[in-house]
Amino acid sequence: MLEIILIYGLVSASTLMLTALGFSLTFGLSGVANFAHGGMYLLAGYLTWALLNELGLPLLAAAPIAVVGTGLLGALIYQVVLRRVRGIHLSEVVATFAIGVAILESFRWLGFVTYDFTLPVFFEGSTTIGSAVVDYHRISIVVVALAMAGLIWVFTHYTKTGLALRGMAQDEYTALAVGVESDWAAMVSMALGSALAAVAAITILPLGIISINIGYDVLLISLAVTVLGGIESTRGLMAASLILGYATVLASNYLAPHWSEIIYMAAIVLTLIFKPSGIFGKFKELEERV
């Protein structure tokens, strides 16, 4: 039993981290809370499904196309919509939330609600660790999640573009003074966040069927992990994913499965009440409260 909880908790934590990575990146780098994250996630899932089943592409070709396509869509949303309301937080949230709902409900209206929509796993088969049976796909989720977090960390700490984006997040005026363009930086962060949503969708969705409500859950998970961990903090993201991942596994083992949603909500509300900057929040500590 202990192995099962340890291993599945880790898988759950990796799922949460991968889901929230894109949202957290966009929010941390440009301050845009992309409430369309769930919509992008599901859009990438259906796009991959269509590429695989309608065009007959192999997964290795379909996945990159879906990731790049979703990233471009994110950039487009920034250019067409968000650019005009940049800095007005309410408008950003309302606009992205409305876009997300529009994407999700369009799929519902188009009839993407049957049980036919599944994505293939990366590797068939399973292995046993101790007394726990783990399929290879769940292991690959952990690997992809860690790889993505590592890539993002390297990107934001060691590349020129990444440093420019972080500079923007820390002090917009100083970054402008050294020649970083604000709109460009926000567009890149939005595109990266959307592309990460696609990566998460392609990696996580094979575990079950694709259904519309996943889109809303994804938004919820992203908010919970980002708020609990603290904005723009990779360590915070990991810590929050681990806490919430193990909490949900324990809750669904000892209580009932639908308690996991309560845990996400409670994490958001309690964090904002007791420590609004999150576990590892750094920069925003002064801004968010009086």
Binding site: H89, L90, S91, W109, V227, M265, I268, V269, I273, E288
Partner: protein, 339 residues
């Protein structure tokens, strides 16, 4: 002349300038200019419940929902003028519904007692819930309000308290028909007018100052935490009232009252109508709710249309319809040469 050589200039219409002071009463034309828009709206609203044979019970029910959304939108307006942006008006609405449902089911009081008790009790509960997060601002406060009603839905669903997923049914009804509608119309107009007056008072100025520059309000020796708590209580009242009223109208209080729709509809109404003056919230609600009812036949496409309208307004007409129309009514535009 190429367009980049001119600029747009807005000038008050003559009649607007004449009606700004005491000369407003110098001619019928001036008086009508000032009163006609309001009078037409109020008379149309007051005559609607009498037209039951022409419009049918269905559209009178739509009017009731519209008024409930208007009240919730007015509540949003007051919160936002203190700088608290709420994404969860359903919290207030649901608190009103559940409080009145609980009182009426457990104490068996008549609706004439449970509605005031539920309104004040629900508002008090919401104020206590939000008190710890009043320090937060901007998107952080918005996130809490977004998550809270959804959290309560899940908790009620999981723990089966307060009727669980089925909710509380068979609550006593209000006397239906015109009296019910008139009561709601009177409250809505009263709240709209009252909030407008409140914002013009000294007290309202302090509330608005908290939004504009909270630090200078602190420096003036005012406890903004306490002021914000008062504002939340006052803002909660119209929304909890709407919740209690609709609860007794449908004789039902359940988790749907805390649903996302009750948060999004008032927010959209304010965005489409225009934030700030009460009339903006009313204009938004009276355009959106009937539209949304008319689109009901299209299923979930309705939600898509709704979301697209929202994006278009946020990006294209962020001031809202009311401010736009008011400007057109009071000013004219012309192009002048750039100096």
């Amino acid at each position: 002349m190429p367009s980049d050589q001119t600029r747009r200039e807005r000038i008050d219409r003559g009649i607007k300038a004449r009606t700004d002071d005491v000369f407003a009463v110098s001619s019928w034309r001036n008086i009508l200019y000032l009163t006609l828009p309001r009078a037409v709206a109020i008379i149309a609203l007051l005559s609607f419940p009498l037209l039951r044979i022409f419009v049918g019970a269905y559209w009178q029910n739509v009017l009731l929902i519209t008024l409930a959304v208007s009240l919730t939108a007015l509540s949003w307006n007051l919160l936002s003028s203190v700088g608290l942006v709420s994404l969860g008006q359903a919290l207030f609405y649901g608190a009103g519904a559940y409080t009145t449902g609980y009182i009426s089911q457990h104490l068996g009081l008549s609706p004439f007692l449970t509605i005031p008790l539920g309104t004040v009790g629900g508002a008090a509960i919401c104020t206590l819930l939000l008190y710890p997060v009043l320090r937060l601002r901007g998107i952080y406060f918005a996130l809490v309000t977004f998550a809270m009603p959804l959290l309560f839905i899940r908790v009620i669903d999981a723990t089966k308290i307060l009727g669980g997923a089925e909710g509380m049914t068979g609550l006593p009804a209000l006397p239906s028909g015109a009296p019910e509608l008139y009561a709601l119309i009177a409250v809505t107009l009263g709240v709209a007018y009252g909030l407008q007056r409140l914002m013009d008072s000294d007290y309202g100025l302090v509330l608005q100052a908290i939004k504009d520059n909270d630090r200078s309000v602190i420096a003036s020796g005012i406890n903004i935490q306490w002021m914000k708590a008062q504002a939340v209580f006052m803002a909660a009242l119209p929304a909890t009232f709407a919740g209690t009223f609709v609860t007794h109208h449908y004789q039902f209080a359940g988790i749907s009252t805390l649903g996302l729709e009750n948060s999004i509809l008032p927010l959209t109404a304010v965005i489409v109508g225009g934030a700030g003056p009460s009339a903006g919230a009313l204009v938004g609600a009276f355009l959106l709710v009937p539209l949304s009812e008319a689109l009901r036949a299209f299923g979930t496409l309705r939600v898509v249309v709704y979301s697209v309208v929202l994006v278009v307004f946020v990006v294209g007409l962020p001031e809202g319809i009311f401010h736009f129309a008011k400007r057109k009514y009071q000013q004219f535009e012309r192009r002048v040469d750039l100096e």
